[in-house]
Amino acid sequence: MTVPPTEVATPQTDALETEGPDSPKAIEGRSLTQIAWRRLKRDKVAMAGAAVLIFLILVAIFAPLIVKFLGHPPDEFHQDLVDTEMGTLGPKGAWGGISWDYLFGVEPVNGRDLFSRVVYGSRISLLIAFLATLLSVIIGSTLGIIAGYAGGWVDAVISRAMDVFLAFPLLVFAIALAGVVPDNAFGLQGNTLRVVMLVFIIGFFNWPYIGRIIRGQTLSLREREFVDAARSLGARTPRILARELLPNLVAPILVYSTLLIPSNVLFEAALSFLGVGIQPPTPSWGGMLSDAVTFYTMPHFMLFPGLAIFFTVLAFNLFGDGLRDAFDPRGR
């Protein structure tokens, strides 16, 4: 095989940039990934976003453990903490019943621990957002590469399909579809089915965003020398796509999936808010916001799930922006 494509893409100037003068080793080439990583490390904002992200993912993974030590089971009622005597049904105590036992206070009416619900809600939100993004990325990059590389009528068909998907009134469709999906389907039931369905709806209809970018990148890459070289050496199309083009597309795929995740978090929250998401009592951030609307006089109820969504989306966006800058400094 010819020159590894990643090194071809390496801009020479950047390779020298970070070398200290008293480096004992000789100057050596760096891969694009290494350079990007160095740049990323210097981007404080992106690193802060990454730290928050890692924290959120850890919270989601260790939710049962965290709740065991700092909270109460997320579905457990504590109606003794709710004011039934006066009849307001709001939490007893100031600030929505916030205390060392109930870090975020309790829900009105049933007195569930808001901290536990926000922590458990991260699982649903992140799970659906990640899986949906994965689905979008798989469909989008596959079709994008094919469209960009093949050109001609294949490109035309796929590009028009993207236009159709982008013009689709997704939210309306999602609400309708989520409403008619039965309790048991495809051998699944209950919330497993809901998660699969939400992942499908969100993931399947968002692939053109990635698909377009990948198609554009492929269009420019396929004219590059290393592709010509591979072709002249007799490499078949699948090999060229997988070994020559794909490694060069990792950067945009990574960047845009990082930016797609927060929009999927928001979309899942919107669907749950509209009542077509996860079935109760499983907590999800959007569902909690929807519950909180009727109790707008008790702002703590809305504040914590709202903040959770806010920080998640912000962290992903900051990290995604940093990642893009790191891979493509000219984009600044």
Binding site: F77, T84, N110, P280, P281, Y296
Partner: protein
């Protein structure tokens, strides 16, 4: 039932109760409010059972707002408690509930008629005599023929889909009679006879002693045939009451002004204090609450009570609480336990649910003691004569008896519990909270409940009220509710415990009661002439249903209402479960 006190009682079972109900006894036309208790001190429940701020001062405009729209402003096409309350402003029936606080409104008096109806021996024929000097807003005299015409036109359900079907079912109409429009000119003497302008005689298919109650409904308000515009009549119904339509904008607003041809001498019940009314539609309910609190608005017309957000505000502020009233309604929020779903075909398994559930959690889910209601221990609400005062499944502090529930589970052969689905309506946060409460509480004895929400509009027709769906989807619990058309055992129980109203194709409010003994008792009560005996029969039905654990009674509903700041003469009319709209005045 899906709407606030939307009434759907049906006299299909129509065998007639020759009830005593003190019909002939309480003739009368005295304005019941004259000797009622009054108060001028603003306090919680000050207008519930008493008249708050009594006054005879005339003038001003009363502003009302509705978070939706009434089904119609045509008296012949309406089936809500609040519209029946309101329409008395621009319409009069032969009979009306006494305008009085507390129990006073359970009495009936003649309105257009000079007294209550005179039944024949077997209560199959009812005769009413009109007062003299009655006029429509245009000055023409109101005659018995106008009442006959009003009733015949509402038989046309293509034009008036919302009207109840009492008259269709009860009266002896000629064969194939389709109402005043489609069967124009057909002689309906067999059903309604008007020998002269002031006499009207109703002929029933079967005996029915509750007929005077029917005459209170807006469906029987007179309509002059010459002025009838069919489906457009709602834009300006011809008034027989103290107010008439001034303006009407569909979906937005209508206003009422004084009717110059209304004569107070013929109408001792209506006070007619303000100069007009203004009724806004499709107003956000939080906005309605806030404007009433601020004093910009007088009445939340649907009478369903404040939103949860306002509830917290009102109950925690003593000044606001002093402006609130908390009337009890003839409505039960309950949960059906379908016996077609295994293992709930076993009585002991159902008893386990009855014992295990925490009643206070039920009450809290519905809004607590004030906005939700009182914990129900049987079906019939206390407002209904014959209601039971017995707790069938007692537990300490109403928190549920887990030991007894466990015992019941062992008895039914499921000591480790079982799995069921609970149906609720997506649009109703209270029912969702209830389903979560059931899930939490029943899990303590091993019964695994999966809450599942459905669209409100298909809830009875396709899902929870559809027997094959219930069975196939393991729906062992279904959130439900029912309000009486009027406060008696027949009106409350007939539609929710009679197994003959269950349709295999769906649509019935009775989801779980399939007991031949109960059906038999309903028929027996319908022909029982003695008041006390009849009430005892309804009590017996209630007992049977409770003993068999097919309905989990939740709460007897209450509403938290806020009085407008500048209103006088405010009181709750128990017949409607909300403020009496004919008595209000402005400071």
């Amino acid at each position: 039932m899906s709407n606030p006190r939307k009434k759907r009682l049906l006299a299909v079972t129509a065998a007639a109760a020759v009830t005593a109900l003190g019909l002939a006894a309480c003739s009368g036309s005295s304005g019941g409010s004259n000797n009622a208790a009054t108060t001028t001190t603003a306090a919680f429940d000050a207008a519930n059972g008493k008249i708050f701020n009594p006054s005879d001062k005339k003038g001003g405009t009363i502003t009302m707002a509705d978070e939706g729209e009434p089904d119609s402003t045509d008296p012949g096409d309406s089936y809500y408690g609040y519209t029946w309350d309101l329409m008395r402003l621009y319409g009069r029936g032969l009979v009306m509930f006494d305008v009085a606080p507390g129990d006073g409104s359970s009495k009936l008096s003649g309105d257009l008629a000079d007294g209550l109806g005179k039944p024949s021996e077997n209560a199959k024929t009812w005769t009413y005599k009109l007062k003299s000097g009655l006029k429509f807003e245009d000055g023409t005299a109101i005659t018995s023929k106008d009442i006959k015409y009003a009733i015949t036109r509402t038989l046309d359900k293509d034009i008036f889909p919302d009207a109840p079907t009492y008259f269709d079912d009860l009266l002896a109409w000629p064969a194939d009679y389709k109402g005043a429009y489609k069967s124009k000119g057909v002689d309906v003497k067999s059903a309604i006879d008007t020998p002269d302008d002031s006499t009207i005689i109703f002929h029933l298919k079967n005996s029915f002693s509750g007929f005077d109650y029917l005459m209170t409904t807006s469906q029987a308000y007179p309509v002059p045939e010459a002025k009838d515009t069919g489906a457009k009549y709602k834009e300006h119904p011809i008034s027989s009451g103290p107010y008439m339509f001034a303006t009407y904008e569909a979906g937005k607003k209508f206003t009422l002004k004084r009717n110059p041809n209304w004569d107070a001498a013929t109408d001792p019940q209506r006070k007619a204090l303000p100069d007009g009314y203004e009724y806004s539609m499709n107003v956000n309910q939080d906005d309605i609450d806030n404007r009433i609190i601020a004093g910009d608005l007088d009445i939340h017309v649907t009478g369903t009570g404040v939103t949860p957000a306002t509830q917290g505000k009102v109950l925690s502020d003593p000044n606001l609480k002093a402006r609130a009233d908390n009337p009890t309604l003839a409505r039960l929020w309950y949960t059906s336990i379908p016996t077609t779903v295994a293992p709930l075909d076993n009585k002991d398994c159902r008893m386990a649910i009855m014992y295990a559930m925490d009643r206070t959690a039920y009450q809290t889910a519905y809004g607590g003691a004030f906005a939700g209601g009182a914990i129900a221990t049987s079906l019939m609400p206390p407002l209904i004569p014959g209601s039971l005062k017995k707790d069938f499944y007692p537990s300490q502090d109403n928190k549920g008896d887990l030991t007894k529930a466990k015992e019941a589970l062992t008895k039914c052969g499921k000591p480790d519990g079982f799995e069921i689905t609970m149906a609720f309506r997506n649009e109703r946060p209270k029912e969702k909270a209830l389903a979560e409460a059931f899930q939490q509480q029943l899990a303590k004895v091993g019964i695994k409940v999966t809450p599942k929400g459905f669209a409100k509009k298909d809830y009875f027709s396709t899902y929870a009220g559809n027997p094959p769906y219930v069975k196939a989807n393991n729906i062992g619990l279904a959130a439900n509710g029912w309000g009486a058309d009027w406060n008696d055992g027949y009106g409350f129980l007939a539609q929710i415990v009679d197994s003959r109203v269950i349709r295999e194709t769906g649509g019935s409010s009775n989801i779980s009661v399939r007991m031949p003994e109960v059906d038999k008792l309903i028929d027996q009560a319908a022909v029982e002439t003695d008041n006390a005996k009849r009430e005892a029969l309804y009590g017996q039905i209630d007992t049977l249903v409770m003993d068999n654990a097919v309905i989990y009674p939740g709460v007897w509903a209450k509403a938290l209402l806020v009085r407008g700041k500048t209103l006088t003469n405010v009181f709750v009319n128990q017949a409607y479960g909300m403020y009496d709209y004919t008595s209000l005045g402005k400071q």
